[in-house]
């Protein structure tokens, strides 16, 4: 068949597919089921035209046109999958704590952060001059000013709710952004995440140590106690997620670097999302409970409660999967893998 003749025969099909594409693009629901069937058929026919373009010696612009038409229809036919809430809940509540329980990066990050934090706390407490040397006079003055006043008369009722909302929103946006940046920085061979983690641990430790030598120690402790468990854990988690990404580039376990990174990305994102949730919780506590005139016992109770919640999540939910995990994993033979895929999935109740 001559190219021209072929073109004339097919042009109407392509035009029809194009018009259906245009309607689908406007709204996925604008086509009736019959029209959708036609769309799929036209798409396959156009695919076949493209495959035979060389055999029919179609001119170059037509081939280019066909490439773009097939690509366009392909993207409308095969669409992105949406979030499924149930799937995400299962990931967050069951699979994630089990993975984190065995995550060497989380252990390393937690050890590094809390170790450095305690060390700098002791140093900052023993040598109060160090805080000034490290942070500068202005910063230290500002800190002291912030905690000069207590929280006994910080308003009540509606204005308190409003102030809390403003504060919480600022903390959410500021702290979570730091967490996200710490996570992204981890991609740089893990160095970025390590730097952020170390920096935060040392600065926080020194500040904590220094403030405890000043007359404002009481006010300071009143403020930081309630939200500390969530916030510190969230920092550690985001750094660990970033390190997971960054070190996947170095430790590839036999995969290509790109594949190793992709796999790490899949595992690291839920960790980061968990960290974001913790930042959110910390911000709400920091906005409402920490600066409130509540007695210290209540704030300490909030801290203990949130620490217990974290312990439950990481240890109890993490251990829960341990029994399953501990059964020896042996290499499956090809026959077994094929058998497993052939046999229908066991019915779940």
């Amino acid at each position: 068949m001559r190219a021209v003749e072929y073109l004339h025969r097919r042009q109407s099909t392509w035009a029809e597919l194009e018009s259906l594409c245009r309607r689908l693009q406007r709204s996925p629901r604008s086509l009736s089921p019959e029209e959708l069937v036609v769309f799929a058929k036209l798409y396959r026919a156009t695919c076949a035209d493209l495959a035979l373009a060389d055999a029919h010696q179609l001119p170059e612009p037509t081939v280019r046109y066909l490439h773009q038409l097939v690509a366009r229809a392909h993207n409308l036919l095969y669409r992105s999958r949406f979030f499924r809430l149930r799937e995400w809940l299962r990931e967050l509540l069951f699979r994630l704590p089990r993975r984190l329980f065995h995550d060497p990066y989380l252990r390393a990050a937690a050890f590094l952060f809390y170790g450095l934090f305690l060390f700098s706390f002791v140093v900052g407490w023993a040598r109060p001059g160090l805080a000034e040397a490290l942070l500068g006079r202005e910063e230290v003055d500002q800190l002291e000013q912030m905690y000069e006043e207590g929280f006994e008369n910080s308003g009540s009722g509606r204005s308190l709710v409003g102030q809390g909302a403003t504060r919480a929103s600022l903390y959410i946006s500021h702290n979570t952004s730091i967490g996200f940046r710490c996570f992204a920085a981890g991609l740089l061979m893990g160095v970025g995440g390590l730097f952020a983690l170390t920096f935060n641990a040392v600065v926080l430790g020194i500040i904590f140590g220094y403030m405890n030598t000043t007359p404002m120690a009481n006010n300071f402790n009143q403020f930081v106690t309630a939200h500390a468990p969530f916030e510190l854990t969230a920092i550690v988690l985001s750094a660990a997620a970033g390190m997971r990404l960054g070190f996947a580039l170095l430790v590839t376990r036999g995969k290509t670097r790109a594949a190793s990174l992709r796999e790490a990305g899949k595992e690291a994102l839920p960790v980061m999302m968990l960290a974001a949730l913790l930042f959110l919780g910390a911000a709400v506590i920091e906005g409402y409970v920490s600066p409130s005139p509540l007695p210290y016992a209540v704030k300490a109770l909030v801290a203990i409660g949130s620490a217990m919640l974290l312990a439950f999540y990481f240890v109890m939910l993490g251990m829960a999967g341990n029994a399953e995990r501990s059964e020896p994993e042996r290499e499956l033979s090809w026959q077994e893998i094929v058998q497993r895929e052939d046999s229908p999935a066991p019915a779940t109740r």
Partner: protein, 313 residues
């Protein structure tokens, strides 16, 4: 094969920025990759959209606060801060999940994010590649520190990484296995109809066109379709290497115009027989495209499908 210089063109890897994708139908089609600067345009458009959204929200929010006579005042700037935070980190991720790999900026410029296999991306990939933009934006220059700190992402790292791989992937793309492609809207199709009598006259005498290899025909077709962009002198220069060989082989008069000769070959190959039969008024005129709308019963009329394709339907 007497035309060694044309063998290089199609058989080898494409030199341009197109990428081959295999569909589930086992058809390979080509995407054009979007370069870093096309993507910069989409990013700036998205920034504009984000700014507009915040601006409009601020306007309506302040109106609401005024209208409620201070009833909403206790919330302060909290809603605006939260919105800015959400737009900052999740704008791209949410749009790319629900708009099939496009944000408003990408949609406006005809770009789309797909996986490296050419499949649509999922929510995890969309969110992760947008969170990791913070790594690509490095190093971040701090432009103004007072009254609010405004930082200027330079995207140097992303640019460096993108220019080091074949698919222009930035770090976020590498971590999720995605790439950004260009969905061009091309309407040009079909062959050019040539009506120059000189060409037609010359074409009458070219009996040997059928012996030309396919790749040569393709090269000539590419030349004819693009010759409108060049002046006559340049056309002669481009056409002469091939035309000289043809003139020598077919023993044509040596003063034949190279441009005219290639046009004649094109005409002979794509149009000659149809023009003959149409001129003679015989039973097979140039078939006019059959007109049909989408039939309600969901079948394509048989004549729209050539026999070789029938089994694909």
């Amino acid at each position: 094969m007497g035309f060694p210089f044309f063998r290089v063109t199609i058989e080898n890897m494409p030199l341009d920025t197109s990428i081959r994708v295999l569909t589930p139908e086992n058809i390979a089609f080509e995407y054009r990759l979007a370069g870093p600067f096309q993507r910069l345009g989409a990013y700036l458009l998205d920034l504009l959209v984000r700014g507009l959204v915040i601006f409009l929200f601020c306007c309506t929010y302040s109106l609401l606060v005024t209208a409620s006579r201070g009833g909403l005042q206790f919330l302060g700037i909290a809603p605006i801060t939260i919105l800015a935070f959400l737009l900052d980190w999740f704008y791209g991720g949410v749009f790319e999940t629900f708009w099939n790999g496009q944000t408003p900026g990408k949609w406006a410029l005809g770009l789309r994010v797909v996986t490296v296999e050419g499949q649509p991306i999922n929510g995890l990939q969309a969110v992760l590649r947008n969170l990791l933009r913070a790594a690509d934006a490095m190093p971040v220059a701090v432009a103004i520190t007072f009254p609010v700190s405004i930082s200027l992402p330079t995207f140097m790292l992303g640019l460096l990484v993108a220019s080091c791989n074949r698919r222009f992937q930035r770090l976020g793309d590498l971590a999720t296995g995605t790439m950004v492609i260009c969905e061009t809207r091309e309407t040009a199709q079909g062959t050019l109809r040539i009506e120059d009598p000189q060409v037609i006259q010359l074409a009458e005498n070219l009996m040997a066109v059928a012996t030309l290899p396919r790749s040569t025909i393709r090269a000539i077709a590419a030349y004819v379709q693009r010759r409108g962009f060049f002046g006559p002198g340049r056309c002669r220069e481009i056409a002469s290497p091939l035309a000289e060989v043809l003139i020598r082989r077919w023993e044509l008069p040596p003063e034949t115009d190279p441009d005219l000769l290639l046009l004649a070959v094109y005409y002979r190959h794509f149009w000659y027989e149809e023009a003959q039969s149409a001129g003679a008024g015989t039973e097979s005129p140039v078939p006019t495209p059959p007109q049909h709308a989408v039939p309600a019963h969901g079948r394509i009329p048989a004549e729209a499908v050539p026999p070789v394709l029938g089994k694909h339907l």
